[in-house]
Amino acid sequence: MFSMEEAISEALSIDALRARIHELEGVRVVSRRIPSGSVAFDALVDGLPRPGIVELCGPPGAGTTSLALDLVRHQPAAAWVDFERWLYPPGIAGAGVDLRRLLLLRPAADRGIWAVEQVLRAGCFSLVVVSEPPPLRRAGHRWARAAEAGGCTLLVCRGRSHRDLPADMRLQLDGHRVAVARNRGGSLGRSADLPERPEGIDPWV
């Protein structure tokens, strides 16, 4: 088990190695942070990486969907690839998301991974959310390249983190608290309470 210092050191070394490879290949990818529109989220992690990949991990009920919806709400348009077919439109409408500006895909697992790559590469959406994808194997790197080509942010919501996804940012949610497990660019180890959710989806408000 790595210590926090070892983890940070490893991340920095890998980042440096990647940058060197890009230099040699002549590919210069500039990833910048874009304000997400969510004040709490931006305060925690300095915005969304674009292009980039963000992984939200947490069991059902931890709040990953609410956090993703909070980010979706602040985008002009977004796509959501729902592998498990769990997303409930009346609930997300209650969260303040305009359903007319959300493209919902519910593909079969065998074609879904390809579909996500197409949506990312097309560049039509600034934010693409994928919930509970199947095991990716090498597809994670294809997604990263596609997000780069499309200039968008990929947000992956899943129960547990997997190393098959080269995420720029990894957030762990547990009991309505979000902790930064990985963040290229700082704020590693920070944590905060989840942003306030609209009444429409929170029975305790």
Partner: protein
């Protein structure tokens, strides 16, 4: 403007192989009887008339040949002839049943002038076995009238337009009767009327014919019937192909030709059909739809490549053909203010490609439905990729929508994720309130419970009636949405 009208008085019978000396009529079902719809001059000379019933014609002339009209075949031949006339100009229009109009304003000089064009057109049609006459005028109706008159008396000098009967301008039946009522039978008589009275009495069509009669030149193109042959590019592959790569290579050339023809016709492709002729003789057909009409070669190739990637050929392919099944005029593309200028692919194209690959049911634009049953509270809407701007705050809100939003606000909250099928749940309860639930992590205590919310309905449907008490249970893991029905507990979703 130079408009040439080509009049083919006997086209309908000549295409069937009959000549003017044959006593033949075409018949069609019309006004509840089989009637004569096209006649050779010989048949007309024998006293037969257009619209006469077949039985009456047979009674009058027992030896006359009656052939049923092949509507589809006639249409194909007419379009093929129009395609042939495109050699002289791009603007070819089919007029009525036996006339073609060619706009040779910009192209006459290429062929040596209007007279030379007329001569070449007539020669070409004679080579096809058709008798025809041509006339050129500044206005389409004038040219049509003169061409028809010339066919009746080919060797006579062309009369003045004024001396022709009013029917030469093809007025509608209503206008013709109105003109006849006031004694107007010649074009010259019409031209002598007062302009204001023509407008008031005979309407817009009357004004048009009036101006033609007075020799005015029109720059508008009269599209009486705009039909074109579908674009079809066949390609022989020079051998049986088993792999996809050489097939895609051949397809590239075919698509380039298709796009050239679309460009020439000022059209954009909406749907393509790819026909693959297999070694066994069978034909494998594949249809592809693009999201936004296009004639861009790269866009069409990208769509086809994505579709062909998953295709398995039943046998080696020997021929292929690409056909444009549906096309639209090129009205230009108006980008939306919210379109991402850096997008590599337009959203409608992406949606069309994904729909093609994944199926229509995989791409959803959810629409809320007013239903008590939670599973029925939304349905799939049709996705078309059209831009839908967010409602600006200054816009007046529709009162019905405002009422709906108010009611939605008052309704209990709904979870963000709902399981496709409710899962049976072990619950320990006390006095009807859940205390502990058993999930994958084991027993979890209920910190807080909100409910019950009774949802029931559809009692009239035997197998669809439901009567549930819903609870929101705050657990260590998160807030679950459960319901109690018929002595059992179910997990239905999460306030995730």
């Amino acid at each position: 403007m130079g408009v040439m009208v080509v009049h083919l008085p006997a086209f309908r019978l000549e295409r069937c192989g009959w000549s003017a000396d044959d006593s033949v009529c075409l018949t069609a079902e019309w006004k509840s009887a089989t009637r004569l719809t096209a006649l050779t001059p010989r048949a007309v000379a024998l006293g037969l008339r257009h619209g006469m019933s077949a039985s009456e014609a047979r009674a009058r002339e027992p030896d006359v040949l009656l052939e049923p009209l092949d509507d589809a075949g006639e249409r194909i031949d007419r379009l093929a002839l129009a395609e042939s006339l495109r050699h002289f100009t791009d603007r070819v229009s089919l007029l009525w049943e036996d006339d073609y109009a060619l706009d040779i304003t910009q192209t006459a000089h290429v062929f040596g002038g209007e007279a030379a064009v007329a001569e070449q057109v007539e020669q070409r049609l004679r080579d096809f076995g058709h008798v025809c006459s041509t006339a050129v005028a500044g206005d389409l109706l004038s040219a049509a009238a003169l061409a028809r008159c010339k066919s009746l008396a080919p060797d006579a000098e062309l009369p003045d337009l004024a001396d022709l009967p009013i029917t030469a301008l093809r007025p509608s039946d209503e206008l013709r009767l109105s003109l006849a009522t006031v004694g107007i039978e010649r074009i010259g008589q019409l031209s002598k009327l007062d302009a204001a009275s023509v407008s008031g009495r005979f309407g817009r069509e009357g004004v048009r014919l009036y101006r033609v009669a007075r020799g005015e030149v029109f720059h508008e193109w009269l599209d009486v019937c705009e039909e074109t042959l579908p674009i079809r590019v066949p390609m022989q592959l020079g051998g049986a192909i088993e792999r996809m790569e050489p097939l895609l290579f051949a397809l590239r050339g075919a698509i380039a030709q298709v796009c050239e023809q679309l460009f020439a016709r000022d059209q954009l492709a909406i749907r393509l059909a790819i026909r693959l002729t297999l070694d066994s003789g069978a034909v494998q057909l594949m249809r592809v739809r693009v999201g936004r009409p296009t004639r861009n070669t790269q866009t069409l190739l990208r769509v086809l490549k994505a579709r062909l990637e998953g295709l398995k050929l039943d046998a080696p392919t020997t021929d292929l053909a690409v056909e444009v099944e549906e096309a639209s005029g090129d009205g230009g593309i108006q980008p939306s203010l919210h379109d991402r200028t850096e997008a590599a692919e337009a959203l409608p194209d992406l949606i069309a490609r994904l729909t093609d690959a994944l199926g229509e049911e995989a791409i959803v634009e959810p629409m809320l439905v007013d239903s008590w049953r939670p599973e029925g509270a939304w349905r799939d809407g049709e996705v078309d990729g059209a831009h839908r701007p967010a409602r600006p705050s200054t816009m007046k809100v529709d009162p019905v929508e405002r009422q709906w939003r108010h009611q939605a606000h008052l309704a209990p909250p709904r979870p963000t994720i709902v399981l496709p099928r409710p899962q049976l749940l072990d619950v320990r309860e006390r006095q009807g309130r859940p205390q502990q639930v058993h999930l994958t992590r084991g027993w979890q205590s209920v910190v807080e419970a909100a409910g019950p919310e009774r949802l029931q309905g559809e009692w009239w449907a035997d197998d669809r009636g439901f009567d549930r008490d819903y609870w929101a249970l705050r657990l260590r893991q998160g807030t679950a949405w459960v319901f109690h029905e018929q002595e059992r507990w179910f997990l239905h979703g999460w306030f995730d």
